[in-house]
């Protein structure tokens, strides 16, 4: 396993403390008159993209950042890769302060952004790879080895000699990944690596990342909108909404912390039993002989007992609501909370009102 575990000391790979980033955006009002006024007097709005994040990531972790658009996920990755400076707070990656942009740091990580190109458009990808070899000072032997290994894993050997502009989006993404991994980075930041790809290509990239990470034990921070990406790859999930961390834990734990409800599906023996089910909980769907109810988690045993005592039930299924729905609810709640006092994420389920 070459180049792995270079980060030997025991301290965490990523340490973030109270990191915040806000920036001003020019507010242009509608209309020509407003445009003219804008020539002399500009109004700016302060956007708080990240509002005080604390995070520790250990060596070898594969962490997913989830959150709605504009939640601060990409901003966080940009901060960690040194593209932007924070407004306040500190962060260290492998002992380096990212925004100092030391070459020593820049040779140890890689950032891959979904649609952005680090490859030369008109040249075959192998030429861009050569350039990376020089920029990152990779010796010829390990360059050849890494390149062959990556291109074999991603099944792109045949495409190396083809100009990048003639490749499909999926093939290009594979080339981007290869370029980013040539210098064997110890930390990898992936911003929407599967955006715009078809299901097969998404799956390929997922499988590749999973295998690569498992083999090399590198640390990966990923943002994605695709729950499938996250479910397939990451044991640890960090939910960011409104620039704050709302949740940090396992994927399955999200349901426990954010959803106060269970979905109960009942199959009745007689159809007329389905008339006034509202008294047991929120009715989601009735397709005789089945009915689907949303019931507060704490009330499930009591309600079930009541239903069973009053009706003849042929089948019962109690399940958690779909993950996407729970997360969407969590995002919506974070948005509602933003102007109110900040509540710790753990309390989120306690004060949850029934989300529809």
């Amino acid at each position: 396993m070459p180049n792995a575990l270079k980060h030997n000391d025991q301290s965490p790979v990523v340490q973030i403390q109270d990191l915040a980033k806000s920036y001003r955006v020019y507010q242009k009002k509608e209309g020509l008159a407003a445009s003219l006024r804008g020539l002399f007097h500009r109004e700016y709005r302060e956007v708080e993209a990240v509002r005080g994040i604390d995070l520790i990531v250990e060596q070898g972790e594969f962490v997913a950042f989830l959150g709605p658009n504009g939640a601060g996920k990409t901003t966080t990755l940009k901060l960690l890769s040194g593209v932007i400076n924070p407004t306040s707070g500190t962060a260290k990656v492998m002992g380096h302060v990212p925004w100092k942009r030391e070459n020593a740091y820049r040779r140890r990580f890689a950032l891959v952004m979904g649609q952005k190109n680090q490859l030369w458009w008109d040249l075959p990808a192998q030429e861009s790879f050569r350039l990376h070899q020089q920029i990152y000072r990779i010796d010829r032997e390990s360059f050849d080895r890494t390149r062959d290994e990556l291109t074999e894993l991603l099944e792109i050997q045949e495409l190396l000699k083809q100009p990048v502009r003639e490749l499909s989006l999926g093939e290009r993404m594979k080339m981007e990944l290869t370029a980013a991994l040539l210098h064997s980075p110890e930390v990898l930041f992936l911003d929407e690596p599967t955006i715009g790809l078809d299901v097969v290509a998404q799956h390929n990239i997922q499988q590749f990342l999973k295998r690569y990470q498992a083999e090399r034990q590198i640390t990966i921070l990923l943002t994605s909108h695709y729950m499938k990406d996250v479910a397939a790859l990451c044991k640890r999930v960090v939910i960011i909404a409104q620039g704050r961390i709302e949740y940090d834990g396992s994927l399955s734990g999200i349901i426990d912390s954010f959803s106060g409800h269970k979905i109960v599906t009942l199959q009745f023996a007689e159809d007329d039993a389905m008339k006034d089910l509202e008294r047991f909980g929120q009715v989601l769907e009735i397709v005789p002989p089945k009915a689907k109810l949303r019931i507060s988690r704490a009330d499930v045993p009591k309600t079930l007992a009541a239903i069973l005592s009053q009706h003849v039930i042929e089948d019962v299924v109690v399940e958690d609501p779909p993950l996407e729905e729970v997360i969407a609810d969590a995002f919506a709640r974070a948005r509602n909370d933003q102007d109110e006092t900040i509540e710790p994420a753990d309390d989120a389920s306690a004060h949850a009102e029934s989300p529809s």
Partner: protein
């Protein structure tokens, strides 16, 4: 040192390859460069014919043509098509991030790209250039003793002005492009620059034909080094102390723009990363 040289060589090689992808456009662009010179020759023939004089502003008729041929050569070194606008586009579209993330210096990288551009250009343009100069050799007759055709020292000075002209042109245009960190769109700035440069670099007419105070203004500006100065040196118009002084001022301007571009890049990156990327 060796690894750095290898890096530069690779960048140079790849830029060269990229240049040669569009062979047709490249060849046509090279040939088109010679078209304006033909119209200039006809124009000045008409001017001399109408005035009935054999010398205008210190230039014999054939030497005016020689001057144009030489400014064409010096502009081939100093002009940087698409450099400033390319830098602004990279800033606007976020491509500039690459230089924040990867361990590579933006100005150095683009400079190598330009060198490759010029090398590729000359490898194609050498033959037509040589042919044109050969056909026009009679225009270079009767030059004074100080001209590059007679003196090796002048020829060396001429080469120095060409190379400094390239570096000056690169850092000057790069500085203009880097203003894009603040303005996002620098098209009008570039337009003003192109206009000024067109008249004040000596591209249109020999600058020493200008009356005072224009002559003096042009003298303190850096633009004359992009076209006029190398040609004037070759033709022996500038010599002795004046030549040495001119070379020193050109060097000073060159250093000034190297520093300016560096400062702009540093501040620009700072602003960019403060702004939100």
């Amino acid at each position: 040192m060796y690894t750095r040289a290898a890096t530069w060589w690779t960048i140079l090689r790849i830029c060269l390859e990229e240049r040669l992808v569009y062979r047709g456009d490249f060849a046509l662009g090279t040939l088109m460069r010679f078209l304006p010179i033909v119209t200039q020759i006809f124009l000045w023939q008409a001017v001399f014919h109408a005035s009935g004089r054999s010398e205008l502003g210190g230039y014999a008729e054939q030497h005016v043509v020689a001057y144009y041929l030489l400014t064409m050569l010096s502009r081939a070194f100093s002009s940087m098509p698409g450099l400033a606008s390319g830098i602004t586009r990279q800033i606007r579209e976020g491509e500039v991030k690459k230089f924040l993330i990867q361990p590579v210096d933006m100005l150095g990288f683009l400079l190598l790209g330009r060198i490759a551009h010029k090398v590729a250009y000359y490898s194609v343009a050498f033959l037509p250039f040589a042919l044109v100069f050969f056909l026009c050799r009679s225009y270079f007759s009767d030059l004074p003793d100080g001209a590059a055709t007679h003196s090796i020292a002048t020829f060396a000075a001429f080469l120095a002005t060409l190379i400094m002209g390239f570096i000056l042109g690169y850092f000057l245009e790069a500085s203009l492009g880097l203003v894009g960190f603040w303005w996002l769109e620098v098209r009008s700035l570039l337009f003003v620059y192109m206009l000024l440069s067109f008249f004040l670099s000596g591209h249109m007419f020999p600058l020493d034909m200008l009356p005072e105070p224009w002559r003096m203004i042009v003298n303190v500006l850096p633009l004359q080094y992009l076209a006029y100065f190398p040609a004037a040196v070759f033709l022996g118009k500038v010599s002795g102390w004046e030549l040495l002084q001119g070379l020193c001022v050109e060097l000073a301007w060159m250093l000034f723009f190297i520093v300016t571009a560096r400062v702009l890049l540093h501040r620009g990156f700072k602003r960019y990363s403060g702004f939100g990327g």
